[in-house]
Amino acid sequence: MARVVILGAGISGHTAALVLRRRLSREHEVLVVTPNRQWNWIPSNIWVGVGLMKKEDVTFELKPVYDRQGITLRQARAVEIHPEGSADSSKPFVTIESTEAGKEGSREEISYDYLINATGPKLNFGATPGLGPDGNSLSVCTYGHAEQAAQELAAGIERMKNGEKLTFVVGTGHGTCTCEGAAFEYIFNLEFEIRRAGVRNNARIVMLTNEAELGDFGVDGLQLERGGYVIPSKAFAESLFVERGVEWITGAHVQKVEPNQVFYETLDGESHSLAFDFAMLLPPFTGVGLKAFDKAGADISSTVFMPNQFMKVDADYTPKPYEDWKATDWPSTYQSPRYPNVFAVGIAFAPPHQLSRPRKTKNGTVIAPAPPRTGMPSGIMGRAVAMSIADRIEKGDDAPLHRASMGTMGAACVASAGSSFLRGSAASMTMYPVVPDYERFPQHGRDLGLTFGELGSAGHWIKRILHSMFIYKAKARFGWWLIPE
């Protein structure tokens, strides 16, 4: 009998748990450790953040699903990994700390045969003074944050109905943020709702982003075939901003957020400030701060994790200039180079470098969007690692590992720009591969036959269907495995 422990139940961890449970016979145990009782379809938090959905629409209780599937659930956060075991036993284990009501803080050691680190990010609001719901800005990263943003937006709309003119700032709260696509979605949903409320003339709406150009999305932008031309996603994105009357500030590193005032530095090294009445600024991510210890109890975190606390896997972490970056630098098996029975997927693995060209201001401030590794790529990684582990348990340690590199996989992104069946729209985008590969696709880095972008109501319908389909899949309803990640 083998035990597979999965730390985290986000898109990658939950996918891995369901795939493993389906692949492995019941003599083997699949155990998930997650601090949250509820599963959250995070892409739809955008709609919670403008008041179109409630928490119940984007979440469900994990326990009934795991009970039905035969997956063991521990409501706890992982705090330590002991991949060599301890002085008393060579069996590797993790130390977890309960988050369950009534048991908060109680610790437990759980041994494992295979470990998947799918802990996702720590929302690092602390990187920017005053950033976040505990400071002076809002967020939509969790459903709780999104509900708060919706309340603030509703209050703002009421003020505008009374004739006040308000400034709304949406974007990234640090020069190294990722998930610019979420800020893009939020700003256009916010604009759509303000327009629907009939107070658009009283709203100034500004995008404040660390992207050097709009449409970069942390993936170094895209090239798209449109109207007989190959155009950059910058043109595609800017046209939407101009159409909706939304201003933008690019290449910005937010230095601090004070009440109703954001201070930022731009790529030219100049410092600026912008007054606001409503600010939704995303935080940068780090790893969750897991510690690793060897058999003797010595801290080996620096050999297992990168300084940003994401876990090292089979990537090429050799520092090199942007011009020398290759798609093959990116991991494909997500196996720890030091411990073959440990894997890291989703946001938890350490990327070898950004995808967008990193830039510094003349003051030395780094303004470099971090690479996105959420959604479809996270799900595919979770499945690949689950298949690898299932093969090794069933066929032995020599079974080849499954591969799912972001250098050879694509991603679909449907970015909502307003929610309404007939008047709403979304940007439907696909890219292949996620990591530009200039050896296979010398001109554009991507296959233009599989990379496209289009705006229209059809995109909104797809986004709405994906919402229902992925929640159905996550609930492991009949035939869930037929739905691709």
Partner: protein, 48 residues
Amino acid sequence: MSTPSDAIKYAMKPSRWVLFWRTFFPYQLYRFIWINLRMLRMIFKSHQ
């Protein structure tokens, strides 16, 4: 900062005709099918 008034000199602004097609139901129904097929092609390639 790029304001809509100066950015319009450099950015492509969709015409009324383009905006019409973006929400014209029969055309969007056709695009819905086309986009799904194109996404499926990319998804199957990514799962190989």
